[in-house]
């Protein structure tokens, strides 16, 4: 009789745990390392440093200027893989409005999914097409796994880097009419010279 009661109690307890505790959320929550501009962030698989942030009105590409729906936020960073060539599967922007923004495919900027060489500082430029409300307080997110895809290294060791954009920065950036050259990545730093649209640019 005692054994039967103990057994039923154990089963009830197990059911209560699986029904009411957030087991799924806890087990998939990533390790997050927070950082800020100009400070190197050491992840398990790579060192990441955001070196500059710019808000621009267009991006220069070989086929002409690419214009955003809002403004382009360009994030310059360096990535140095630690022990082996490292794929960075996810790069995104957590807007100050609480929404996630994906890297834009326009403007010839760096894209997620690329492999970065071991021990060598590689320069990248991630670009986002964002509305004004997303800029203030926005953060760059970067990880080797992709959110929601599980698989190999699901969101293990996520970098979340505050881009330090104040309200004044946003007002100034939103008013700009200048642009930047797109940059897909390389061992040399990107050319960050401001561009101006001239007649005939498209």
């Amino acid at each position: 009789m005692t054994l039967a009661v103990a057994l039923i109690a154990a089963m009830a307890l197990g059911r209560a745990i699986t029904d009411h505790l957030p087991i799924g959320n806890v087990s998939s929550r990533p390790f997050v390392r927070t950082g800020r501009v100009d400070h190197a962030l050491s992840l398990r698989y790579a060192d990441v440093k955001v070196t500059d942030v710019r808000v621009v009105a267009f991006l220069g590409t070989p086929s002409g200027a690419a214009a955003p729906a809002g403004r382009f936020l360009a994030v310059y960073a360096t990535i140095t893989a630690k022990r082996q060539p490292q794929q960075v599967g996810y790069v995104g922007l957590l807007g100050g409005d609480g929404r996630p923004y994906a890297v834009t495919s326009r403007g010839s900027c760096s894209v997620p999914g690329a492999f970065y060489p071991t021990g060598l500082r590689y320069h990248v430029m991630y670009c986002f097409d964002v509305p004004k409300r997303a800029l203030e307080g926005s953060r760059l997110e970067l990880s080797q796994g992709v959110p929601g895809q599980g698989g190999g290294q699901a969101r293990d060791d996520v970098a979340r880097i505050a881009l330090g954009l104040s309200r004044a920065d946003v007002t100034k950036g939103w008013a700009t009419t200048t642009g930047l050259d797109g940059f897909s990545g390389g061992f040399e730093t990107a050319d960050q010279k401001s561009l101006t649209l001239t007649e005939g640019s498209s």
Partner: protein, 205 residues
């Protein structure tokens, strides 16, 4: 706890460490999936410096059972000051970066598919540098324009079909360039097709 408790549970207590070991063993598939199979962890063949590795790695494609069957050795590893970038342009090595040209000598029957081959260079500290992971476009293990056959990748595909004039010779060399941080010294070249298996070619100390 009282002596009576220990006595009452004397038969079950020895099972606790056994249960712990069984629990760890049951969870150990994570080690295989997320670590062992995710990197180069199983040496199939090792060749001493200057020696030839005779490789025979069985695998299966859609045409049936076959093998990566070839011989390979490192002829020499030499520093270089230029490499081809992703656009095929010759580029000077940047400050803080060292480039090594790895000259490999291969021999294989022209009917053997070797087109999926990868190279990894390992330094004395165990850091791995993939030629394929760099922004360079180079032929790794097969001669450019004469890669030979590819594995049969879909049902009905014929393994070994090669365009006329593009057959692979019986012996050939390749010389890919790998970029490492200045100060890193290559000690091993790994030739591989699918993780975790690789062929280890040791370099002279």
């Amino acid at each position: 706890m009282s002596r009576g408790w220990w006595r009452a549970n004397r038969l079950w207590l020895p099972l606790v460490p056994v249960a712990l070991v069984a629990m760890l063993a049951a969870a150990s598939y994570h080690v295989k999936t997320f670590w062992f199979d995710d990197g180069l962890h199983r040496t199939l063949v090792t060749a001493k410096p200057g020696h030839v590795a005779a490789v025979d790695i069985p695998y299966e494609d859609t045409a049936g059972k076959t093998a990566y069957r070839f011989r390979v050795r490192v002829d020499k590893v030499t520093p270089t000051t230029t490499y081809l970038d992703s656009l095929g342009d010759r580029t000077r090595v940047q400050a803080g970066v060292s480039a090594y040209r790895v000259r490999l000598g291969f021999s294989a029957d022209p009917s053997v598919a070797l087109s999926g081959c990868q190279l990894t260079v390992v330094d004395a500290a165990g850091h791995q540098y993939d030629v394929n992971g760099l922004p360079v476009s180079q032929t790794l293990c097969v001669p450019d324009g004469h890669e030979g056959p590819s594995p049969a990748l879909y049902k009905g595909a014929k393994r070994g079909a090669v365009e006329k004039g593009h057959q692979r010779p019986r012996t050939w060399t390749t010389s890919p360039v790998v970029l490492v941080p200045t100060g890193a010294r290559p000690v091993e070249v790994r030739v591989w097709f699918a993780r975790p298996d690789y062929v280890s070619l040791r370099l002279p100390r």
